[in-house]
Symmetry: C2
Subunit: 311 residues, 2 copies
């Protein structure tokens, strides 16, 4: 049985939170990604190799944990060996652990002869994300399915893909500071005022309405009205204020942290997106923090096979 050809899958980067969409909105975009190559083995279980920063313990490695779920789900004999290439910097806020989880699940599915369709892999990718310490769908679901996904924070198996009419370019900038997930969680308050909770719900509803209708100026405004996460996390990114203001000054319609940062994303319906990236990165550097960035587009496809012969 084993010894089928290896398969390499690309797991894309994703933006999450997106202003009032804390733990609920995620968007798959073009840009860097992780690659996972899977091959079948006679020995049971899943082994993973990759850069030294990654845990090789299959329980703590998102790609291996997701692939192991697919293997069990398929009831397949033997095991899998994964090779992981990280294209997304760790702790950058654009879904690195999710990209690996999704690439692991899809590569496992492919090398097993594709027993499942993508929606059947939702539990596997959520299980993979657990290895990074959470059970959230806002990165893994868009990385798997492509496009924009609305997901329930309390039950991430409940989600909807939302179709965006002709989305504008996005300016994505990664200031070179690390935001630890545990710090980003620790700064959040345990409770919020009742009025802030109702206002947040309305902001997210306005944002979704505007996204579905392609009302980009409104998307930009509502992106900047989070009350649950961004006000508390912004101080973890020392150049946040400067980068945000630079984006707006360069013509962006709105800016938000992605994930728990340091990544910032600006929506650019009416200006030169490359110039917005440059302005944001320059503001970061002026604040003493090196930065990289790119003009991103919505990726409607999500994780995909990039090589099923070689590797």
């Amino acid at each position: 049985m084993p010894d089928s050809s290896p398969v390499t899958v690309f797991g894309p980067c994703t933006l999450s939170n997106l202003g009032p969409g804390y733990d609920a909105l995620g968007l798959c975009i073009t840009g860097p990604g992780d690659r996972v190559t899977a091959r079948r083995t006679d020995a049971p279980g899943v082994t993973a190799e990759g850069p030294p920063s990654l845990p090789t313990d299959a329980e703590r490695n998102t790609a291996a944990r997701a692939a192991a779920h697919v293997l069990r789900q398929a009831g397949a004999e033997g095991g899998l060996r994964l090779r992981i290439e990280k294209g997304i910097p760790m702790g950058s806020g654009v879904g690195g652990s999710a990209a690996s989880a999704v690439a692991g699940a899809v590569a496992a599915n492919e090398v097993l002869g594709r027993p499942f369709r993508k929606p059947d892999l939702v539990e596997a990718v959520l299980e993979g994300e657990r290895a990074a310490g959470g059970y959230h769908g806002d990165n893994v679901l868009p990385a798997l399915l492509g496009g924009l996904v609305l997901v329930s924070p309390s039950d991430p198996t409940a989600y909807r893909r939302l179709t965006l009419p002709a989305p504008p370019p996005l300016a994505v900038v990664l200031p070179d500071v690390e935001v630890l997930t545990r710090d980003a969680r620790a700064v959040l308050p345990a409770t919020v005022a009742h009025g802030d909770a109702s206002a947040q719900a309305a902001e997210l509803a306005f944002l979704v309405r505007a996204l579905l209708e392609g009302d980009w100026p409104a998307v930009g405004r509502h992106l900047m009205r989070d009350r649950l996460a961004e006000p508390f996390r912004a101080p973890l990114v020392p150049v946040y204020d400067a980068v945000r203001q630079a984006a707006l000054d360069a013509g962006a319609a709105g800016v938000a942290l992605s994930g728990s940062g340091p990544a910032l994303v600006a929506l650019v319906p009416d200006a030169d997106a490359e110039a917005v990236v440059e302005a944001m990165a320059a503001a970061s550097r002026a604040g003493g923090v090196e930065a990289t960035g790119w003009v991103a587009r919505v990726d409607p496809q999500g994780a995909r096979v990039v090589d099923s012969e070689l590797a």
Copy 2:
């Protein structure tokens, strides 16, 4: 100048809150309404007459306060005399004070020669609602504009009308118990858990997505997942559980309190809406509480002139 013909305006009833749409969603429906007849007077200011339960003090009467705002806004000479007929029971949860406020504003606008379009009357109707003790848009805006309105709880001048594709019938039932607005506010907690706030935001976003796309089964599910108000207010309506269950047993897709209750509304895309009303009312009576109800449709028009010659 004065002594123009009087004008009578119908202010429709409205559903508000609608599950996770606490303070943010309101829907104009067919059914009972309030009528306000306005005539111009030489004497400045606004006077109001109506049933004895209504305050005649123009500051505390929603119709008079809204009409006074329109009078000031128009810079018109003289004053207005209003006659108010209440068709909506007080404290029923279907927007009685809002119906009067809106009818008062629109009647004032008409009798002054229609200087304003409806969207120009938003501040007046919000000001009118203040007479009932709050500054909320979730009843006055749909009563004015018709249809479904999403409004910001923190700034009710920010709103969007949402277009519903072919909405199904609604079963509306008013158990004959009074819920005092101050009690309904007092039972709400001052703070909520951070996770409940993020979950609520996602629920409202899912609900709005489902409403915009006419996905009625999903609307029904999300209607029943409020975490900010309904769980705390349900105990104020002694027959809540029985009426809700009766609606679901009779085939409704979802049920929610309207406003702060006691009104309950059920969405009936796939069953006999008249039978759902009957089942809900019967459950209330079985619990010892008299009840009335009707099959409602979305009213896309909102407040309207019903008589501009006589009255």
